[in-house]
């Protein structure tokens, strides 16, 4: 049902457009994702490359990188998240207004990567709910673009109205079996 197109034929419908609230809301959200670069290590370099003219993230309607969480709705966690930084990542996430999404870019952000050590958080999904994971160390800019397009697909299929009225937070973070 989500594949329904938002079409308008003035001959049939006159001045009225009939659609579903979800479709309109998601369509608006999906085409104006404002990412916040949470660049913590080497992956951030690839994130910057994705923003440059060669790969050009703006082709997909999400080029307005905001360095303030209050003006962004998609946090791209690019890099190694230490336990000391985990607290900060969470606090910044909370400052973003709803609706908001998180992309875990690279092996480190997704799972701790090669840092099996005392200092590194083993996956940022333990502090913030992650929507899309990108594999690679570092992922190429194309992979980031692919992930952002996947995120747009995901946004397109969300139950926005239901989520609006649902109990918050709608998205859950990962809990270890032991804790």
């Amino acid at each position: 049902m989500n594949t329904q197109t938002v079409a308008y034929d003035s001959k049939v419908e006159g001045e009225v457009i009939v659609t579903r609230a979800d479709a309109v809301i998601n369509w608006i959200r999906k085409n104006s994702v404002w990412p916040m670069p949470m660049g913590l290590a080497c992956c951030a370099i690839e994130l910057m490359a994705a923003g440059g003219s060669r790969f050009d993230i703006s082709r997909f309607g999400m080029e307005v990188m905001r360095f303030s969480p209050r003006q962004a709705d998609c946090m791209i966690v690019a890099g190694t998240v230490t336990y000391k930084m985990a607290e900060v990542v969470r606090r910044i996430y909370e400052q973003m207004g709803d609706p908001k999404w998180v992309v875990a870019m690279g092996a480190c952000a997704s799972s701790g990567g090669m840092y099996r050590s005392y200092a590194t958080l083993q996956g940022v999904d333990r502090v913030v709910p992650v929507d899309v994971y990108i594999s690679g160390c570092p992922p190429r800019p194309e992979a980031l673009l692919d992930a952002m397009i996947k995120l747009q697909e995901k946004i397109k299929n969300e139950n926005s109205v239901k989520n609006l009225l649902a109990e918050h937070p709608v998205k859950k973070i990962r809990q270890d079996a032991a804790s």
Binding site: Y83, A86, T120, R126
Partner: protein, 201 residues
């Protein structure tokens, strides 16, 4: 050049001893004389730059901790390495070099943080990498690479996420190189190569 400096230093300071080194001039200096020696090094021997402050943990040996300093002379363009044993194995201390070299400030804080060496006379000796309430010194030999379970310092965030500092899964690691030889044969490998996800569960 190294030889001249070396004999000059060793003749002048009876408490110095030569230290094995495969590159630069290196000496051992007792902790009590470290300030005196480094002052002369800076003012008379023109070693005007402190490059590195670190330490070695010898594990079960005594003395367990050795502080290591690297100085550079921008005038003579040469290096010297000074090593100084800590007398106490439980609470290792060394005199702080901050009054002599301001570069020592953050270096000593790092060595304190990771190795637990207390630099006496340091103006602001607190952790620089780990958070203030962290209870361990992670580069010591008796600290496991994976870490030890510790509470996270931010209580509100723990309340929301249930997060704690946990030991990292080693998954057959640590991944280490077997040593010298052809690069193709000495790539880093897991210590336990029989590990797999099924067994790990």
């Amino acid at each position: 050049m190294n030889e001249i400096e070396k004999s000059e230093l060793l003749d002048r300071f009876a408490y110095l001893s030569e230290r094995d080194s495969s590159d630069h001039l290196a000496v051992n200096c007792p902790a009590d004389q470290l300030i005196e020696f480094c002052t002369v090094l800076r003012d008379e021997f023109q070693f005007d730059m402190l490059l590195d402050v670190t330490a070695i943990d010898w594990d079960v040996a005594t003395p367990r901790f050795t502080g290591v300093y690297h100085f550079y002379s921008t005038v003579k363009q040469m290096y010297i390495r000074v090593a100084s044993d800590c007398k106490d194995n439980i609470k290792p201390t060394l005199p702080s070099l901050v009054p002599l070299y301001s570069a020592a400030d953050w270096h000593e804080r790092e060595t304190y943080d990771l190795m637990g060496i207390v630099y006496e006379g340091h103006p602001n000796l607190k952790r620089i990498l780990m958070w203030d309430s962290y209870p361990y010194h992670p580069l010591r030999k008796d600290f496991p690479l994976a870490g030890i379970e510790t509470p996270l310092p931010a209580e509100d965030i723990v309340g929301q996420t249930n997060l704690k500092v946990a030991a990292a899964p080693m998954m057959g690691g640590p991944f280490v190189s077997s040593g010298d030889g052809k690069m193709s044969q000495t790539e880093p490998k897991a210590k336990d190569e029989s590990w797999n996800e099924e067994k790990g569960k």
